[in-house]
């Protein structure tokens, strides 16, 4: 395996791992904040019980998110020192800001997780707000850097060195508004549909208590609000890609030939050798209309770019369709849910159709994660062979240290594999436990000793 391929595999796999926990770290605090806020306002302690249960799960997940994120900040330099040497002054400022946002999240999360028996209910709830705001702000700042890699602005390059850096101009590059919001909403969707799936399982198993019902209602409501906005932002994002990265758009859509009135292709095998996308469902002129607002506009196909500069069409096209399809499911499922719920006098019915709906909700949980990964693959693999679109190739960015990529790939795959096994075990055990009072939250200080202290 060449150092480049190994380095890409290492970066890709560690990011794919981190993104799961990072997204939950952005989305779950919103659910915690709302659930506890409802409990505080209405004096309804069942909301508190739910928030505490979620906080137990979150304390496990956050550890992994924090350590894998630390690893990534090192890996950027370890694997791509030439990229960092060139670009880090341009995209560093948002990373430094991300540091502070993450600091805020970490500090108040410490207060939140360990403060259950040290803080008054009001102070405890107030701590959840900076956790949620800090998480979302972190996501914003980090993704501005990625969006700069897709549409770099805010500097001039002279002899391979950057000058005239405008940090704000780099941060607010053309891709920033749509890409950052798209990622933040995706994090919300992942958290919402993952939690909904867990309580859908409980309801299917006949646990139809207020506690379990609310455990489904709140994330479902969250998902209901977010999913349609995501569709709109996703469309904006694709229009921006059409503008700044036409080759990526062509790969996403499996479009090999430049054509006026381009069709939208759903599914199919985009084969770069035959330059055909076979077995796809074609909707005439829809891509031209979606990308440029005119059904007869010309959309650049991959033939407009040198063959060496094509991303992996097969992967990018299918990943894109997988993401869009799951996005559609996340719009339909809540509508279906609320229809059944309200028709049955604001309770979840026990009918067969309701069971099918709940099973769909169970499936949507893992699908939301798959859509998250697929979307990330579209933006990263779709940018290949560039690390900075049109400016620097990944091959020119990779470390000269021999065996570096393979070392990081093997070491971190092993560590993350062990962590995954440990996490899955812990989360399953947490899910199996009957919710019970005086559960030690994060283990260290159990309630009794902490209350005495």
């Amino acid at each position: 395996m060449s150092n480049l391929i190994a380095a890409r595999a290492a970066m890709g796999s560690t990011l794919a791992f981190h993104i799961i926990f990072a997204s939950l770290g952005v989305g779950l605090p919103v659910l915690l904040c709302v659930a506890e806020g409802l409990g505080l306002r209405n004096g309804d302690t069942v909301w508190y019980a739910l928030a505490r249960r979620w906080s137990q799960a979150f304390s496990i997940l956050f550890v992994v998110g924090a350590v894998s994120g630390t690893a990534i900040s090192f890996e950027m330099g370890l694997l791509w020192p030439r990229f960092m040497g060139f670009a880090s002054s341009v995209i560093g400022t948002p990373f430094a800001m991300e540091g502070f946002a993450f600091f805020t999240e970490g500090i108040f999360l410490g207060l939140y997780l360990y403060g259950w028996d040290r803080l008054s209910p009001r102070a405890h709830w107030l701590c959840s707000i900076p956790v949620a705001v800090g998480g979302t702000a972190s996501a914003f700042f980090v993704v501005t850097a990625n969006s700069w890699m897709n549409s770099p602005t805010g500097y001039t390059a002279v002899n391979g060195k950057v000058t005239n850096v405008d940090p704000l101009g780099a941060m607010f590059n053309p891709g920033t508004p749509s890409e950052t919001v798209h990622m933040i909403l995706a994090s919300y969707q992942v958290a919402a549909f993952a939690v909904a799936a867990i309580y859908a399982v409980a309801l299917l198993r006949g646990r139809r208590t207020t506690y379990h019902t609310r455990g489904l209602l709140l994330p479902m409501a969250f998902g209901t609000i977010v999913a349609p906005i995501q569709a709109y932002i996703g469309d904006l994002s694709a229009k921006m890609v059409a503008h700044t990265q036409p080759a990526k758009l062509a790969a996403m859509e499996g479009l090999f030939h430049t054509v006026a009135g381009a069709p939208l292709r759903i599914l199919g095998i985009a084969d770069p050798n035959t330059q055909q996308t076979n077995f796809s469902i074609e909707i005439p002129k829809l891509l031209s209309w979606l990308a440029y607002g005119d059904p007869n506009s010309v959309v650049k196909g991959l033939d407009a770019f040198p063959r060496a500069d094509w991303p992996n069409t097969l992967l990018v096209h299918l990943a894109f369709d997988l993401m869009v399809g799951t996005g559609a499911l996340m719009i339909v499922l809540p509508i279906w849910f609320w229809f059944l719920y309200y028709r049955n006098g604001r309770t979840i019915p026990e009918s067969r159709i309701s069971k099918v709906m709940l099973w769909t909700a169970v499936l949507t949980g893992p699908l939301a994660f798959i859509a998250l990964e697929a979307g990330w693959m579209v933006t990263e693999i779709g940018r290949q062979p560039w690390i900075i679109q049109g400016v620097m190739r990944v091959a020119d960015a990779v470390t000269p240290v021999p065996g570096a990529g393979l070392t990081i790939l093997l070491v971190f795959m092993l560590i993350y594999l062990v962590l995954t096994v440990a996490l899955v075990y812990l989360l399953l055990r947490l899910a199996r436990q009957r919710p019970k009072a005086a559960e030690p939250d994060a283990g260290a200080g159990n309630s009794a000793t902490a209350a005495q202290a």
Partner: protein
């Protein structure tokens, strides 16, 4: 034109120094706070005697709420370094690839080990296994970070026109670098034992406070011996650092020694709180002495603050972002440490945990959970 240009470069140079100062301050914060978390892992490994379990519980209790926040100082240091001194970050990541990867493994496993061990509290074997991972990683990570620092000062990393040349192994395995690593572990252990003795004292657990006080004294003695050895080796292996330590950084070098002695006195006299401030000051003073001694070099002998800094606009943005961030951060940190580390204050009349307990009872009346006792023990 000439005057304008020199004014511009004076501002740039001033900002570059500010940014180097921010990196240094971030490192000191990480060392004083995060260093103690590593030291906690060292004492977890060395826990022994009749109060072994109490020692471990005190360590877990002390680290729990703060280690994730403390870890963010490292991320701050890295991001400010790569933003304001891109060449440094890129060169160090290449030249010291091996110790950085190993330190990173240590940092990841320390966090994961600590977090997961407490979650496995009811499964003894798993808890022991994750405990060893936490312990081992807590020794490895500061050792490698210390060796890294020694490697940077050793003068064997050459950077010309952005191209790095260094030996991937010998740069950080010199006697000086390895002694720096051992010194880092020892001083982290001293910090942790001192902090832990204060917390045990606050909880009125006097025998436990005594355990940690003695450990702090022993670790402090080891730290002093390793510090003397490192200084001696620096005279031979890193003459530039050495001449700085006995030259422009002399007040800080002497200050570090005096504070070290004062810490020993405070511990002997059982002045716990004083010892806590002194030992933190000791750590800060050592790092400051090193930084001043090396100034203006970031990587000896080729990279300086002047020739490695990013464009002025970037330095300004990083400085302003840091200033704004600190306004947000410092009060938040104060609140975190006030709630978990200050003297015990009156618990609120009602806590969020009590409401959650009520909620559980409301949602699951006791009759509904006949088997809960078994699941818990």
């Amino acid at each position: 034109m000439f005057i304008l240009a020199s004014v511009g470069s004076a501002t740039a140079s001033f900002l570059a120094n500010i940014c180097a100062g921010l990196v240094g301050a971030g490192l000191i914060a990480y060392a004083v706070l995060g260093g103690a978390d590593f030291g906690g892992g060292v004492w977890d490994l060395l826990a022994r005697g009749p109060r072994m379990e109490q020692q471990r519980a005190a360590i877990a209790h002390a680290l729990g709420p703060v280690w994730e926040a403390n870890n963010v100082w490292l991320i701050y240091v890295i991001t400010v370094t790569w933003t304001t001194f891109p060449v440094v970050y890129a060169s160090v990541s290449t030249a010291l690839f091996i110790p950085i990867v190993l330190a990173l493994v240590g940092i990841v496993l320390r966090g994961a080990g600590f977090g997961l061990r407490s979650q496995y509290a009811r499964n003894a074997e798993m808890a022991v296994a994750w405990g060893y991972i936490f312990n081992g990683a807590s020794v490895i990570a500061p050792f490698l970070l210390g060796a890294l620092a020694g490697g940077l000062a050793g003068g064997h990393i050459h950077v010309h026109n952005g191209v790095v040349s260094a030996n991937y192994w010998t740069t950080w395995t010199t006697p000086f670098a390895l002694t720096c690593g051992a010194f880092a572990v020892a001083i982290c252990a001293t910090l942790a034992a001192t902090y832990l003795s204060v917390e045990a004292k606050t909880d009125n657990n006097l025998p436990l406070a005594e355990d940690f006080r003695i450990r702090a004294l022993l670790a402090g003695a080891v730290t002093a011996a390793l510090g003397a050895l490192a200084a001696l080796l620096a005279a031979f292996e890193s003459p530039q650092l050495w001449s700085g330590l006995i030259g422009k950084a002399l007040p800080l070098s002497l200050g570090a020694m005096l504070i070290g002695l004062a810490t020993a006195y405070a511990l002997l006299a059982q002045r716990f709180t004083l010892a806590r401030y002194l030992v933190a000051g000791e750590m800060a003073c050592i790092l400051a002495a090193w930084a001043v001694a090396q100034y203006p070099y970031l990587i000896i002998p080729d990279v300086t603050i002047g020739n490695a800094s990013a464009p002025e606009s970037v330095l300004l943005a990083a400085t302003l972002a840091s200033a704004a961030g600190m306004l947000l951060l410092l009060p938040s940190l104060w609140y975190l440490f006030y709630i978990f580390k200050a003297r015990p204050h009156d618990a609120p009349r009602q806590t969020a945990a009590q409401l959650a307990d009520q909620g559980y009872r409301l949602a699951f009346p006791p009759t509904e959970e006949p088997t809960s006792g078994r699941a818990d023990h």
